[in-house]
Symmetry: C2
Subunit: 129 residues, 2 copies
């Protein structure tokens, strides 16, 4: 990525997002990406075999559904870590703004390939502009 | 750490912080810690040879001073990555609330040992309560 100096504002980055379920990488540190995403509706069930996922809600409500444990509901300012290897699905009744931290290699649909899958190249395209 | 299920609220975690310059680990993912800290005044000059540091300001203004490049001023919602190996110092004219993401092994005063240094054990003590 060409933008070595990551210095920006979260809401400015959310403002640049025009598409739902299309994570935007806004910073990189220690092999991790910090991303922002706008979501609404239901995502696909998936798991990441080797990667934990940190979620922080900036606006709205995010529901994280699990197969094997109680759902987690996150409202503004709430955060949660989805452990590696655990199947999960995210859902938002209304548009929700989410900050994610996860390894640079993480596919947002995990081991599931879906119409909703956005490549890492797509998630970082704006950094090469 | 005993709290496997990291599910909390940022402002609740800030509310639990009673001491300045005393980072509180609030989540762990992929060998990284997410921390909250309240800061005011000036910290010590230091560098982390191998670790980048991600800063996000929740409230107030944080100034990151560098020896070899322009200072960076972060206000609410602003974020910045301090690259590994680069000497820096943080300062806050008024009390400032900061979210950090950095490797679990990172000492917050880097290679500098200071009266302000808090051990990782101290930063995670509340998780063992």
């Amino acid at each position: 990525m060409s933008r070595a100096d990551f210095h920006s504002n979260l809401d400015k980055e959310f403002g640049a997002l025009t598409e739902l379920w299309s994570p935007r990488v806004v910073a990189a540190a220690n092999g991790q990406y910090v991303k922002v995403a706008k979501v609404k509706g239901e995502f696909v069930w998936h798991a990441h075999a080797e990667e934990d996922e940190f979620f922080l809600v900036r606006k709205g409500t995010l529901i994280i559904r699990y197969r094997d444990r109680p759902d987690v509901t996150l409202r503004e300012g709430d955060f949660h870590v989805v452990p590696r290897g655990v199947e999960h699905m995210t859902a938002a009744p209304e548009e929700c703004w989410v900050v994610l931290v996860e390894p640079a290699a993480t596919k947002h649909t995990g081991d599931t390939e879906s119409d909703m899958t956005k490549s890492i190249e797509a998630q970082t395209a704006h950094l090469r502009e």
